[in-house]
């Protein structure tokens, strides 16, 4: 399991995470929601060890990864798969080479075995026969699927998804969500997903956590988060335009 405790991070004078806590159970799909610029991606970068906190810990199965360096951190990362927001596919390689890359670099599998696994993963994400294409030649939705195939090819225990459906049409959003759900059922990895897709994301999440101004203000099963009495959670879920409380509202043209 992953336990985030008292995580603080500031950039220059701007605090982004303000002592946030979150537990992610093994095998669940945890979706982190929240407004843009609210620190979701920063949190994810702490979970995968790309950023170090100013204070607090990120514990993965009892190991505080914020204290690890070099090879020790790499050993934890070998259990990870990460789907980046833009896919982060290597544009100098074909689709198949992208998916094969982690296997070629991190394992001693024979080429025929790697080819077999790559074909299998491409088939699972519905991209059979697309292996020879360059990432620049395929659509946004396909790129996301290639990124998912690459993240899963090493059969990781924990998979992180950073807004895996951003910029896709509603049908593709559902396709990707169902793909993630199907792969999760099959491989039982722990999934940590940052997403904006409301209400679609409630369909696939085991639990949802809302990050607001650097702390988790609500966490629980989707139905509990939907029924939350917290006005900020309700405002976010309904997509209301933010308005200041009546007493603080400024009259146009009048100085406060």
């Amino acid at each position: 399991m992953i336990r985030v405790a008292g995580l603080h991070k500031r950039f220059a004078a701007q605090p982004v995470l303000r002592g946030m806590d979150l537990d992610i159970a093994t095998g669940e799909i945890m979706v982190i929601i929240g407004r843009s610029g609210g620190g979701k991606s920063v949190l994810l970068k702490h979970l995968i060890g790309l950023l170090r906190p100013d204070a607090g810990t990120v514990t993965v199965d009892g190991t505080d990864i914020t204290r690890l360096r070099g090879g020790e951190l790499d050993r934890v990362r070998e259990r990870y798969g990460v789907v980046f927001q833009g896919g982060a596919l290597f544009d100098s390689m074909s689709v198949a080479d992208n998916v094969a890359f982690p296997l070629r670099e991190k394992t001693r599998l024979p080429a025929s075995e790697i080819r077999g696994r790559v074909d299998e993963k491409l088939e699972q994400v519905g991209l059979t026969g697309m292996g020879h294409k360059n990432p620049a030649e395929i659509s946004g939705g396909m790129r996301k699927r290639v990124a998912i195939a690459r993240a899963l090819v090493t059969e990781p225990e924990i998979v992180f998804f950073d807004e895996p459906t951003t910029g896709l049409d509603p049908i593709l959003v559902n396709t990707i969500h169902h793909l993630i759900l199907e792969l999760h059922r099959k491989f039982r990895f722990t999934a940590v997903m940052v997403s904006h897709e409301i209400p679609e994301i409630f369909e696939i999440a085991d639990r949802v956590a809302m990050l607001h101004e650097g702390t988790i203000i609500e966490v629980g099963p989707p139905e509990a988060v939907r029924a939350s009495t917290n006005p900020i959670v309700q405002q976010f879920i309904r997509g209301d335009i933010e308005t200041a409380p009546a007493g603080q509202r400024r009259e146009p043209g009048r100085q406060p």
């Binding site: 995968i48 060890g49 790309l50 790499d74 050993r75 990460v82 833009g86 982060a88 596919l89 991190k106």
Partner: protein
């Protein structure tokens, strides 16, 4: 990482001093990062596992792809040298020394320097842009979370490829340049071929060749080092990559000239 007060937090009369201190500290820490980056790059050249495939790719990227421009510029540099030196020497009736004059200028100075500057414009800028784009599209982050070291994968092979290819490219530049000088001096201006090459053997020594060789090797380190560093530390978006590429080319060109002067003054 330490944080010190910003100049605005000091009393007004002390602010210029605080700002000077801030600039100095920023400069020193940037220099430190630059040095540490080089240390890591060299470290991963000697510590296994080695990325032979990446090295081959970088040799192709820096070396093979620069061949045409090196041959073309080498030929014209030699021809210009041949013409100008012939015109100067003919005033003193010493045209016979055209061969050694062209060869020495190329081997000791112009070959390594011009070759390095042209390769910077061609391959160095491409290195910066490639790594910069990889950074802004999270490809470098992707390498890191795959437990692969981006320095080992992207920087060390480029530095080693520079050390291997620069002396070879410089040698090609020198040879083509000498032939360019021959074309002008012998074929166009009527010097005898025996004089052109014969005098060269007398005047060009092994130490001249070694001077050029050491220069080429050191430029082969400087160019990939600066260009990959700038790519790794580029700003955000297309503008960040564009600025990093410009800075890489300018900084590398300046360093080449400064280092050339330094080496020229210490080497025999």
């Amino acid at each position: 990482m330490f944080s010190s007060p910003t100049p605005e937090m000091w009393p007004a009369p002390l602010r210029p001093i605080a700002a000077l201190g801030r600039i100095s500290l920023d400069g020193v820490s940037a220099l430190g990062r630059f040095g540490r980056f080089f240390g890591q790059a060299v470290g991963y050249v000697v510590i296994p596992p080695f990325k032979i495939g990446r090295l081959r790719d970088r040799i192709h990227f820096i070396g093979f792809r620069s061949l045409t421009i090196v041959i073309l510029t080498g030929a014209f540099t030699g021809m210009v040298l041949g013409l100008q030196i012939f015109l100067t020497l003919s005033r003193f009736g010493s045209e016979a020394y055209l061969g050694p004059a062209v060869a020495l200028s190329l081997i000791r100075e112009l070959g390594p320097v011009l070759c390095a500057v042209f390769v910077t414009g061609l391959a160095g800028s491409a290195l910066t842009a490639e790594i910069g784009i990889m950074k802004i599209t999270e490809q470098i982050d992707a390498l890191q979370v795959m437990a692969l070291n981006p320095m080992r994968y992207l920087v060390s092979p480029a530095v080693l490829a520079g050390v291997i290819t620069f002396p070879l490219l410089t040698a090609i530049f020198d040879v083509v340049g000498i032939m360019g000088g021959y074309l002008v001096g012998v074929e166009l201006l009527g010097l005898s071929p025996g004089t052109y090459f014969g005098e060269m053997k007398t005047f060009v020594t092994m130490s001249d060749l070694m001077t050029g060789y050491w220069k080429a090797i050191s430029f082969g380190i400087i160019v990939p080092w600066v260009c990959t560093y700038k790519g790794f530390h580029c700003g955000h978006g297309a503008e960040g990559v564009a600025r990093a590429t410009t800075q890489a080319v300018v900084l590398t060109s300046i360093l080449i000239l400064v280092w050339d002067y330094f080496l020229g003054s210490v080497l025999p």
